[in-house]
Symmetry: C2
Subunit: 170 residues, 2 copies
Amino acid sequence: MSLRIALLGLLTTAGAASGYDLTKKFGVSINHVWQAQHSQIYPELVKMEADGLITVLEEGARGRKIYAITEDGSRTLREWMLDFHPTAPPRSETALHTFLLPLLETDEAIEAVTRLREHFATRLAQLESIPPAPEGYRFGQFALQLGLAQSRACLEWADGVIDQLKASSR
Amino acid sequence: MSLRIALLGLLTTAGAASGYDLTKKFGVSINHVWQAQHSQIYPELVKMEADGLITVLEEGARGRKIYAITEDGSRTLREWMLDFHPTAPPRSETALHTFLLPLLETDEAIEAVTRLREHFATRLAQLESIPPAPEGYRFGQFALQLGLAQSRACLEWADGVIDQLKASSR
DNA sequence: GAGCGCATGTAAGCTGTTACATGATTCT
DNA sequence: AGAATCATGTAACAGCTTACATGCGCTC
């Protein structure tokens, strides 16, 4: 379901586009929020057209098909936005690793958490490099703020854990 | 792969157990970090036994099979812990919803974010109700701290967004 | 005409969800 | 005797990844 929503969202926020264009967009704008490969996108667009959520506006060179969202598609997207109820993501490899940290010796654990810290710092830097919305109210603005808040929290957590581990090794 | 790791981790931290026991454990101890249904666990245990990571210690009443981790299993788990490199989770329904918030009218968006806020508050309360490790260095302790830090960050984010939306509606 | 980027597709395989199915034991 | 719980499995399906496959159009 969410892939459809992401595609409908992109077609709304960025206008009509081909599967190829949409694939590229998943690599940039919406990237920190949702991702998909072309092998998943092309078949999904075919199904969405069959369901009347999008239409082919034109067929260009090299079999390029430009899709646009339909009334039905807009309604579906809006309903999803209004109905949405969050659920906690049930699986996180990083959290699993963290859960099992006491399996390692203290110095090994410090090394492992330092690696995590690096990762969080890199992610934070990436998000900080995205230019903020200039004014008003833009797509992705709030998601970016959420990503920043979470990255900062993770970074602080890693620093705290490293301190705890160092204290316990003395 | 990670399901295996979670199972090996549980067999290490909580000792030998049946598929049924492990299923229940995914419903409590490790629950905020990883989850699995019995329909996924039973076949996985069979494959893990075939791969020599676990063995059947005894077969009890009602076909109950008690599994224990093997040397090979412990080595695999330890190697995973040492090799682990985090990756950013590429998909979050909540972040996608957040990304598309500007599709809604301001008052609708406020309502939607208020629902998110509720969700984060509930999650935080759940994690806070887990008793902290009494002393020293326990399995799950750092993962719990991570969950708390992230939940608090999400809650603050929601409050900030609600403020921004209210300011923009005036 | 060789190579690159554009553009779309298919297939195999893994992970995870939901539902179906069965039988044993314990408790009331 | 009936219900609840213990205990294990299978099947169908959805979502996603990786790899394979093909052909057009532009530029050097």
